[in-house]
């Protein structure tokens, strides 16, 4: 293979010149591709064909029948991609040699709106993208370009992303990973036993520990919270007993709590309070049902595809009453008084007050389709008469296939004129069709849910039948069979889980759960000097994500295994850089790498609880919003960077948590302390070398507990904290008279009195305050 290795080197040099790299692996030794030609093809694919052409020129796209139909590789299973890449390259090479009716290269004419291009002008003649396309056409029209083997050309899209991309990136230690993952997934620190296990078995040990962590209730609380960040079903407007359960179909049962017998409570005020609590718990339980479905699927190790295919919903004793199914289920509940203990149930088909509002069903049951058919999802994303279920279709694409349909929309030269020029713009105007051909068929699958006031009804068909001025119901070019109409959402769910994008989208959700952010999108600005670096970063992450998604699908959509796979991945373990000055291109490549997530208000409270044994308790409601939290309604995106207001809350938290816990910790027997098990307040810095070593050992322990750092006792980090402690104690003594007791507010609730004649308790409080304000504590 000597010739092949020479070829690798050439390719590397060539791509490096362009700010990217490629390895033409798999290229036959008899089919060398000049690196500049591969580079031109690759650049054109990335900057023109993938970005612009593929929107319409693909199966199911508006230009499917144009004779230029590319394969969207992202839709294909890995096994089919090789052939698809080759087919795309062959098609592009062939058409690059064709001319338009006015004797211009066909590609260039079409791209600029000539030769009756159905999509109009896509590229401006003076744009960078046009120049890229022009280069490709020029290259493919030369004898050497035209004779290129298409497989070899397609191989130009390969990239050497595995080894080189992570060069110089340092992964977190196994113990660090263990702490990061247990805090993230279960809001607690690792146990000694778990640490020992990881010490012995390394990364495999982390995997084993996580199996146990993902059995804990705290993990399921985090799971629900993370998926609500995505689906936002807790953000339903109004009282859930009215907006989730409609008057039309649950008239007699949805307000059961108003008749519930509380006569055993004699005191009228208490009875009234109990009534309020009953209603509030019922409403909260209703809102929580979709997330409980996700919990059930994961807890029971069911395929995560059930998020779309489960033929049941989860109900609690309270919500079962609302649906009118309590009597048939009551024996399944461990306690009929627990509003939040859920069991699965398959509802019967809906029966309206009016026979016309009865639900069609071939089986007599409600056609459950996982989350998609829940009243909560349908009412969180309602429709209107003119929206025609398009919001629901858009959210479906975003939630379950990771596609932002609106991003398909490009600038229109005159959108108002287009709207006015066509009788049905969404079916006739290319600018509109590009989205609506994808969106409207899925909107049509929601057609049985055609009511606009959730309080009155969610289910209900349109009297006149579904709209004829929309693309008919279906999915990605597949029409909904008439026989499946009554269970259209189930049909959609079944189609979706076989689409490779589903596994990727779920992997992206898991990634968001672990990192707090969405995966990278392809960079937008092809004129950006760092475009190549940014694209490479995107491709690296995308390739990792797709590989993990493929294992997830092959593994029967086992969500816990997916999380473990992500935790073990380099995406999650990347932690630092080895010391070396890096050029801007390399920094741009690494820009998104590493977890580095500002903890949400909920996560921060859990971390405080894990370390100190009790929460701070102030990051709730309005303060949670102030600290970057969400309300699932108006505020739906968590803050990723701290504002000044958040910085103020961090200072407040650090001051207050240190105040509540330092003297308290010293008031406990050493064996029960969380912060200072090895030192007493009478150990003074500078008193002796032994005392200093004791102080340093205490600091090492605090760094481990609060920051997850494993610092050496004479490290620079420990030196700095030591100096802080010593300087506070020293400065206190320089004041002359000092109060021999801690501040009043900080010595409340102690288990025994703790004096502070040397100011060391307050000195340690200063140290804890300092550590609580550090990035390692406030970020994940």
């Amino acid at each position: 293979m000597p010739r092949l290795s020479i070829h690798f080197s050439r390719a590397w040099i060539c791509w490096a010149a362009l700010g990217c790299t490629v390895v033409l692996s798999g290229v036959s030794a008899s089919e060398p591709v000049p690196c500049d030609q591969a580079a031109v093809y690759r650049e054109a694919w990335i900057k023109v064909f993938e970005r612009s052409c593929l929107t319409c020129h693909r199966r199911g796209g508006d230009a499917e029948e144009s004779g230029f139909c590319l394969a969207d590789v992202s839709h294909l299973p890995a096994a089919s991609r090789e052939a698809a890449l080759g087919a795309n390259a062959e098609l592009i090479r062939t058409l690059a040699n064709n001319d338009s009716s006015d004797s211009r290269p066909l590609f260039l004419a079409k791209a600029t709106g000539g030769d009756n291009h159905g999509g109009g002008a896509i590229l401006a003649p003076d744009s960078a993208a046009y120049r890229v396309l022009e280069s490709l056409v020029g290259m493919l029209r030369t004898p050497s370009g035209n004779s290129l083997h298409t497989t070899a050309l397609a191989n130009g899209l390969r990239e050497d992303l595995d080894d080189a991309f992570l060069q110089g990136v340092v992964m977190i230690s196994d113990q660090g990973l263990l702490r990061r993952a247990t805090l993230s997934l279960a809001g607690r620190l690792p146990t000694e036993h778990e640490r020992t296990r990881v010490e012995a078995k390394g990364l495999e040990g982390v995997r084993e520990v996580l199996d146990g962590v993902m059995q804990e209730d705290a993990f399921y609380a985090r799971l629900r919270e993370a998926f609500n960040d995505i689906f936002l079903t807790l953000g339903i407007d109004g009282n859930a007993d009215a907006t989730v359960l409609s008057y039309e179909h649950f008239e007699k049962t949805r307000l059961w709590y108003q008749q519930h017998d509380l006569s055993q409570i004699e005191d009228e005020k208490e009875r009234q309070q109990a009534g309020y609590k009953l209603a509030n718990d019922y409403r909260a339980a209703l809102l929580d049902e979709p997330m409980r479905l996700i919990e059930h699927i994961v807890r029971e190790d069911r395929p995560f595809s059930e998020i779309l295919t489960a033929d049941y919903i989860m109900v609690s004793p309270y919500t079962a009453r609302g649906y009118g199914v309590f009597d048939e289920l009551k024996d399944q509940f461990a306690s009929v008084d627990d509003p939040f203990a859920y069991v699965p149930v398959k509802l019967k088909a809906l029966v309206g007050r009016n026979r016309l509002e009865d639900q069609d069903s071939a089986t007599g049951f409600y056609p459950h389709a996982g989350l998609l058919s829940t009243f909560q999802y349908l009412s969180r994303y309602p429709t209107t008469e003119t929206n025609r279920n398009r919001l629901r279709a858009r959210m479906y694409y975003q939630h379950f296939l990771g596609v932002d349909v609106l991003e398909m929309a490009d600038r229109v030269s005159d959108a108002a004129a287009v709207t006015a020029a066509y009788e049905i713009p969404t079916m006739q105007a290319a600018e509109c069709v590009v989205c609506h051909r994808t969106l409207d068929p899925v909107a049509g699958l929601f057609q049985e849910y055609w009511r606009f006031d959730a309080n009155f009804a969610i289910y209900g068909k349109r009297k006149e039948g579904w709209f004829l001025d929309m693309f008919p119901a279906g999915f990605e070019g597949e029409a909904l069979p008439d026989s499946e109409r009554w269970r259209a959402l189930q049909w959609l769910g079944e189609q979706t889980v076989h689409d490779p994008r589903f596994a990727v989208a779920m992997t992206e959700h898991a990634y968001a759960m672990l990192t707090g952010r969405r995966p990278l999108l392809p960079p937008g600005d092809i004129d950006d000097p760092l475009y190549a670096a940014r694209y490479r970063a995107f491709r690296f992450q995308r390739a990792e994500m797709e590989a993990i998604a493929a294992r997830f699908a092959a593994n029967g959509f086992h969500f816990k295994a997916l999380l473990t796979d992500l935790v073990a991945s380099e995406l999650y373990r990347a932690d630092a850089l080895s010391p070396a000055p890096l050029p801007p291109e390399r920094l741009a490549e690494l820009d998104d790498l590493g977890v580095v997530r500002l903890l949400s208000p909920e996560q921060l409270e859990r971390k405080i609880t894990a370390i100190f044994g009790k929460s701070w308790g102030k990051l709730s409601e309005q303060t949670a919003i102030l600290y970057g939290g969400i309300d699932s309604k108006e505020v739906t995106e968590r803050a990723s960077d701290p504002s000044g207001a958040m910085g103020s809350l961090q200072r407040s938290m650090a001051n207050d948590v240190a105040c509540r816990n330092v003297a308290l910790d010293f008031s406990r027997p050493p064996s029960q302390r969380r912060l200072f098990p090895t030192i007493e307040p009478d150990v003074l810095p500078g008193a002796s070398s032994e005392a200093d070593e004791q102080v340093r050992a205490a600091i090492v322990f605090l760094h481990q507990q609060l920051l997850g750092r494993d610092d050496a006792i004479h490290s620079e980090e420990v030196d700095r904290t030591f100096r802080l402690f010593a300087s506070i104690v020293e400065a206190a003594h320089e004041q002359g008279q000092i109060d021999p007791r801690e501040t009043w507010a900080c010595r409340q609730g102690l288990e025994r009195e703790v004096d502070d004649p040397h100011y060391t308790v307050r000195g340690w409080r200063g140290v804890v305050t300092y550590l609580l304000r550090r990035q390692e504590f406030l970020y994940e």
Binding site: T384, E385, T386, L406, E407, A409, D410, V412, S413, D414, A415, A416, A417, T419, A420, G524, D525, A576, L577, S578, P579, A580, L590, D591, L593, G594, V596, Q622, I625, L626, E634, V635, A639, D641, P642, S643, G644, A645, M646, G647, S648, L649, Q650, R651, S652, N655, C659, R720, T721, R723, S727, A731, A732, A745, C746, R762, G766, T769, R773, Q775
Partner: protein
């Protein structure tokens, strides 16, 4: 250990080196030298202040600043009912509304200061891309910052609430942190973090201890800046440190927080923004009210919401007057789309990609209407040199043209951040005379 001014200088240097743009803001005073004096002497930003008001959902411009009395475009009035004030023409709403501020009163009071642009082309007509486009001036990128975020990042990124937002599209381009302050009382909660229950007489730490903590954090920050950190980590370290250090200036807000919180949606947001401006801790605010998406019963909805929106603008300006910062307030009132020139079967109006925008504030000559729509509510071609419309040839004025002009108004067109997020308007298309 370093002195506080030295900490500050070094920090700013590191921010600049990290490309965070946390460079010394314009017009800031030097830092205090003692922890006790910190809250009094932390730097303050003293204007201009920028407020972007969003009528979220898509307003009906024919019910406001671009009236159409023909062709059944608006059923509330006839051509002869259209009102004028100075150079402004507007729809009559006093008879159709039940609360808020009528167009008549609004234009009467503010018309002489008001610049209206009609015939703005949003290019698409979906909420999400339109909101993004109107907020950033860039349709095809998710990376661009909103104008409010950009101007905050350019002028005073170290202000603790440099960019306030109450909704709508609020991307920051990673240039500055976004602040959400949901209610007025929230401001009180963050005003004095170093004292127990915010009580100055009961500090958590003695001054010497607090100073030692702050200095150690600064030393740690310097140490970290010299480490080979992943870019995300380096950015997080810098932004966190900036957030905590600069948050001390929030103490200055306390005297400006009104005792009672107003009931109106925009007025609540305006009070928070104005108190923050007055305290010198905020550069820009993104105010928003929703429900303008009147696909059903357009007239009833718009006649409820437009007067509410205008009342909000008026309250903002009146309160700014009381706080003596009115002359420093730049106001931009916009929506992400317009509404169709005809009614649908539910008496609603759907999305329309042509609309209007209004401006008011220092540097903006009022009593002017620029741009036009025709009798069917299509944008007329526009000559950017003469600022007049033509019958056949001209450009379509889009959000990037407006943002380009806004950047020049704010004096940030050549700031490195603006260059990073370039709008690429050819010189011949720049609206150089827009502000008068």
């Amino acid at each position: 250990m370093s002195s506080v001014p030295a900490m500050r200088r070094n920090f700013l240097k590191r921010c600049a080196a990290a490309g965070l743009g946390l460079s010394a803001p314009i017009g800031l005073r030097p830092w205090a030298t003692s922890a006790a004096a910190d809250t009094e002497d932390l730097p303050g930003y003293d204007g201009p202040y920028y407020v972007v008001l969003n009528a979220s959902g898509g307003w009906d411009t024919t019910a406001l600043m671009d009236p159409k009395g023909i062709g059944g475009i608006n059923r509330l009035y006839e051509q002869g009912d259209i009102c004028t004030h100075g150079n402004h023409t507007f729809a009559p709403t006093a008879k159709h509304m039940t609360a808020g501020l009528s167009n008549e009163d609004f234009f009467h009071e503010f018309g002489n200061e008001l610049l209206v642009f009609n015939g703005l082309d949003y290019s698409v007509n979906n909420h999400a891309p339109c909101s993004r486009y109107m907020a950033t001036g860039k349709l095809d990128s998710l990376a661009y910052p909103t104008f409010a975020a950009l101007v905050a990042a350019c002028k005073a990124p170290t202000c603790p609430l440099a960019f306030l937002t109450f909704g709508n599209y609020s991307a920051t381009g990673n240039l500055v942190a976004m602040s959400r302050v949901p209610y007025l009382p929230s401001l009180k909660r963050v005003a004095n973090a170093d004292a127990i229950d915010g009580n100055d007489a009961a500090p958590y730490h003695d001054p010497f201890a607090l100073r030692a903590i702050e200095e150690t954090l600064a030393e740690h920050q310097r140490f970290q800046a010299a480490q080979p950190l992943l870019p995300r980590r380096a950015r997080a370290e810098s932004m966190l440190y900036a957030a905590q250090v600069n948050s001390k200036a929030l103490a200055r807000i306390t005297p400006h927080i009104p005792k009672d919180s107003p009931k109106q949606r925009l007025a609540q947001q305006a009070e928070i923004a104005l108190a923050s401006f007055k305290a010198g801790v905020c550069v820009s605010a993104n105010l928003s009210i929703g429900q303008f998406d009147s696909h059903a019963n357009n007239d009833a909805d718009q006649m409820k919401l437009i007067p509410e929106f205008l009342e909000g603008i008026a309250t903002l300006l009146h309160r700014a007057e009381e706080l003596q910062i009115r002359e420093k307030l730049v106001v931009i009132a916009q929506s992400e789309m317009g509404r169709t020139p005809d009614y649908n079967s539910g008496n609603g109006k759907d999305h329309w990609s042509i609309g209007s925008i209004m401006f008011l504030g220092p540097g903006i000559t009022g009593n002017r209407v620029i741009g036009k729509t025709d009798e069917r509510q299509f944008a007329k071609p526009f000559d950017p040199q003469t600022l007049s419309t033509t019958e056949t040839e001209g450009i379509r004025v889009r959000p990037e043209h407006v943002h380009d002009a806004l950047r020049r108004l704010a004096g940030i067109a050549n700031h490195p951040h603006s260059e990073t997020f370039a709008l690429g308007i050819p010189p011949a298309e720049q609206l150089l005379g827009l502000w008068g």
